[in-house]
Amino acid sequence: MSSPKTFKYWLIALLIPILAWAYLNKIWVGRFFLGSDNTDFFYFFIYHFKNILNGIYPLWNPFKAWGSLDYLDTQHIGVCNPLGMIIPILLFLGVKAYWAYASYIVIFWMAGLGGFFFLINRIYNDPRMAWVGTSLLMFSSGLAIFPSWDVLGLYIFAPLGWFFGFLIGFVRSSNDPDLKKNMLGLSFSSMFILHLYIPFYFATIFFAFIASVLLFARKWIILFVEACAKAVKRVPWVTLFCLGSILVSLWPSVDCYLKMKDPQNITTFYRGENEHKTGNPIIVSQEMIDTGGLPCRSTFSQLFSSFETGDGYISFVPLILFILALLTLFNRSSRTQRVIFMTGFLLLLITLTSACPLQHFLYKYVYMFRIFRNYFFFWILFWSCCVVYVMGEIKQFLEVGLTSSREKIMYALWVVLAHVGAMVYLISLEDVPAVSYATVIASCCWFLARLFEVLRVRENLFIVGLVFIGLWQPFYVLPLIRGVDHGSLDYACKKGEFSYVRPLFGNGYNEGNSLGGREKYFQDESGFVKNGYMGQKGSYLLIQNLSQETLANYVRYKFILYDQTSFINENDIDWDRVRRVVAFKDPSALIGDQSGIAMSNGNEPSLPMILKGPSPDLKVIGFDVNSVVLSIHLDQRKFLVYNDSFHSGWHVLIDHHPARLYQANIAFKGVWIEKGDHLVRFYFGSWIDYLRGWGVSLLFIFWFLLVIVLFLPAIRKRS
C-alpha cells in the first residue's frame, strides 16, 4: 500500500510517461500537427490575443465577411479561460503564433491529465494508482496522439477530473478550511465547464453519475446536501461568491445565445429556420447523431486488432487495462466501484446511438439530447471511467493477503487462466500485432513473479514494471493508427499571424495558407463564405443575390462619398438598383430609412467618389478592430459610406458629437457629413460589452490564482 505521503513523488514521476509520450509524438523534432477544430480555434485565439496585446478587447472583426460580430460562434465562448493566458504571454515573448497555440493545447492536455491524477488519488487515496491510471490513459487514443487532439475533446475531458475530485472532497470535508477549499475548487471547475460552451457532454456524464448514485449509493446525495447546508451555514459569503462567479461565467454563453437569436446576425439559428427548414433551428437529426456515434467510428474488435483501420480518435486503449479488468473479476465490489462502473456503462450505451434504445429514448424525451452531436467525444469520458474503475479494482487485487500456499496456488491459477483467456481472444481475431501477445505473456509472468517473490521486487517497482509492460503495446500500435505518421501530414508551420496592416485598403489579415484548406474562413475580402457563413445579415443578402466578381470589386474600396441618398425598401429589395450601386453606376447610396434621404446640393448628383488611397481630404488616423477614426475635408455636404458591415452596435461621432448612422447599400455603414474639416469616429460596442469581456477574463484569472494559492501549500504539506 502506497502512502499518501508519496503523493508529490508520484506526481513528479508523471514526467516519465509524459516524456515517453513526447518521444512517441516526435516532439523532439518539432513536428506535430494540430488538425480538426483546432483550425478555427487557432485563428480565433491568435486574433483575439493579438488584439488583447494591443489593448483592445475585440468585439468586431472587420476582416471577416466584410465585418462581422465576434463571439457569434459558440466555439469562441471559452476564450476567457485562464489557461488561454499562456498565449498572449508567449506572443509577448516573441513566440510564433502556432507554437503559442500549441503550447496552450499541451497545457490543457496536462491540466486534464493532472485532474485525472487528482481524481484517482481522491477516490482511492493512493497516488501510486493515480500514477498508473494517468500513465495508461495518456497512451489511449484521443489523448495519446497529437493529430487527434481535437480541442473540443480536451475541453470536455480536462475539467472533469478536477470537478469530480473536488466534489468528492467537498462531500468528505470534515472541517471548515477543507470545506471552503473544496467548494472553491468545485466552483472553479464548474465555471470552467460552463464557460467552455459544451456543457452537454458534462451534463450527460453528470446525469449518468447521478443515476448510478441513485441506484447504488443514495446516501451520497444526503451527504452532498449536508455538505451544502454546512457550507451555507459556516461560510455564507464564500458560498455566495462561488454561486455568483458561476453565474458570471455563464455570461458569455448567454450573450452568444442572444446574439445567435438576433435577426441581424446570420448564425445556425437563421440558417436552420430559413434554409434547412428544420423548424427548430438547433435540433440535430437522429441520422446526424448516428454519424457521430461510436459504431460509425470503430468496432469492438478494432480495440485489439486491425489498428491501421481504426479511428485515431477513439479506437485504442492499452491492452493491459483489459487484462487487469479480467484479473479482478472476482474482487469484492465496493459501492464506489459500482457507481463508477455504472456511470461508464451508461455512457457506453448512450454512445452507441441508434444501436441502443437508451440514446433513442433520451433523444425522444430529453430535449438536451437533440441539440448536440459527436457522441464519440463520450469515448474519452468512457475510457476515463474505465481507467478509474480498473485502478480501484487492481488496488484491491494487489492488496489481497495470501497466507497459505493453497491460496497462492489458487491465485496463480486464476492469473494464468485470465491471461490465457485474453490470449485465446486475441488469437481468435485477425491482424493482432505480436506485441499484444507479448504483453499478455509478460503481464502473466510479472504477476506470477510477484506472487512467488521470484524477483523480490518492491511493490512500487512492480507497479512501475506493470506500466512499462503496458506501454509496449501502445508504443507499437499508436504509430499504426491513422494520423500518427507525421510523414503523411503536411507540416506547413502555419503562417497565421494577425496584424493591423489595413487602415484603409488591402488585406489586413495576412493568413497565407491556413490549416485544413479553410483559408477562406478568415480573410479581408472573404465575404464569400457560403457554407457555414456566420456574420451580418446585410452581407449575407448581398452574397446570396449578387455576383462574386461585382461584390469583390466593390468591397475592396472601404470609403465612398455620395452626393445623395435614395430610399430602398428592405422588405422588397430592388436588386437591379443594388447591382448598379455596387458597380458605382448609380449616383445614390441606398438606405432604408426615409429620414436620411437627402441631397448634397441642388445640382445634378455626380457618380460616387471612391477614395482610393490616403489623401489630404481623407486620412485614417486611428484604426483597430472595434473602431476607425478619420480626418476628412469636404467641399460640400456628402454621404460617406464605410464598406464595413452595419450592426446596431455601431455608433459614429463627428467632432465628438453623436451622429445618426445609417445602414447603407444593404450591408454597410453610412453617415451624412457636413462641409468642412471633421474628425469622424466609428466605434463598436458599449461599456457592457467590455465589462463582459474584460470582467469575465479577469474573474477567471483571479480564480485561477486563488486556487493555486490555496492548493499549492496543501500539496507541499502532504509531502
Binding site: 447504488f216 469484492r332 465490489s333 459500482r338
Partner: protein
C-alpha cells in the same frame, strides 16, 4: 438488495453484459458503421494494381462488415480475400475465398482466384479441382451465376452493356481456367492428361483458347518450349485478380443492390 447482488465484480460485469446483449443491436451498429464509411478505398481495391496498404486495410474492414451483415451472399468474404491478395497474404486470402464459396457456391470467379492461390503455393491438385470446376460448367450457366441482381431494374442500354461485360468476364475466366489447368497437369508431370485436355479443346473449341491450344499442342512434347509455356502460365498465377465487372454496385450504404 441491489448492493447485495452485486457484491462481486463478476456479477456486475455479467449483469452489464446481459443488459447489453438484450438491448444493443449489433446489426444496427454494423449498419451504422458501414453506411458512414467512405468509398475511396473500395475504389482503390477495385482498381487493378492498388498498392495503398492503408486503403486496402480499410476496404478489408468494409468487406468484413459486409460479410457479417450478409454472409450468405459471399461477396464480403470474396472481397476480403481480394484485399488479402493485394496485401500478399495468400493464406488468409485462401481462407476467405473458401468461406465465400462455402456460403455461395455460385461465385465461380472466386473459385478461379482460389485456384490461382493454390497454384502459387504449388498445390496443383487443389488448384486443378478449382479450375476444372469452372471449365466443366457451360457458359450460359456461368452467365446466370454471374448475374448478381435482376437486370430488369436497369434501362435497355445499361442492361446491354452489363450483359456484354459479363460475357467477356465469363469468357476470360473460362479461358484462364483452362490454361491454368494445363499448367497444373504439367507441373504434376502428367503430360498425357495435359495433352488430352489440349486436344479436347482443339476439337471442341468450347473454352475460346484456340491459339493457346495450338501453341500448347506443339510445345508439350519438347522440353524448351514446354518450359517457356509453363513459365507463361506461371505468370498468369501472379496476375491481378479478375474482378466481377459489377463490383461498383457494392458501395457503402448500397450493399444489398446485388441481392
Amino acid at each position: 438488495m441491489i448492493e447485495h447482488i452485486f457484491n462481486r465484480t463478476i456479477f456486475l460485469w455479467a449483469a452489464a453484459i446481459v443488459i447489453a446483449l438484450f438491448i444493443v443491436s449489433p446489426r444496427a451498429a454494423l449498419l451504422q458503421r458501414i453506411n458512414t464509411m467512405h468509398g475511396n478505398y473500395i475504389d482503390c481495391v477495385r482498381e487493378q494494381g492498388c498498392s495503398d496498404t492503408k486503403a486496402i486495410a480499410e476496404a478489408r474492414e468494409y468487406y468484413l462488415i459486409l460479410a457479417q451483415l450478409y454472409p450468405q451472399y459471399g461477396r464480403g468474404s470474396e472481397m476480403q480475400g481480394i484485399c488479402y491478395l493485394l496485401l500478399k497474404q495468400d493464406n488468409l486470402a485462401i481462407k476467405k475465398f473458401q468461406e465465400a464459396i462455402k456460403y455461395n457456391p455460385d461465385l465461380f470467379w472466386v473459385s478461379f482466384e482460389l485456384g490461382k492461390a493454390f497454384y502459387r503455393r504449388g498445390e496443383y491438385s487443389q488448384a486443378l479441382k478449382c479450375f476444372q470446376g469452372i471449365m466443366t460448367q457451360d457458359s450460359i450457366s456461368l452467365l446466370k451465376k454471374a448475374t448478381l441482381s435482376p437486370l430488369t431494374q436497369f434501362s435497355d442500354k445499361t442492361r446491354e452493356g452489363l450483359i456484354l461485360s459479363l460475357v467477356d468476364f465469363v469468357t476470360e475466366i473460362k479461358l484462364r481456367s483452362y490454361q491454368m489447368a494445363v499448367g497444373c497437369r504439367v507441373h504434376q508431370g502428367d503430360l498425357t492428361q495435359a495433352k488430352n485436355m489440349v486436344s479436347q479443346e482443339l476439337n471442341n473449341q468450347q473454352l475460346g483458347g484456340n491459339d493457346f491450344s495450338v501453341m500448347a499442342n506443339s510445345s508439350l512434347d519438347k522440353d524448351g518450349p514446354r518450359k517457356e509455356m509453363l513459365s507463361w502460365i506461371d505468370g498468369l498465377a501472379y496476375s491481378k485478380p479478375i474482378n466481377h465487372p459489377w463490383g461498383h454496385l457494392i458501395q457503402p450504404g448500397r450493399e444489398i443492390l446485388y441481392r
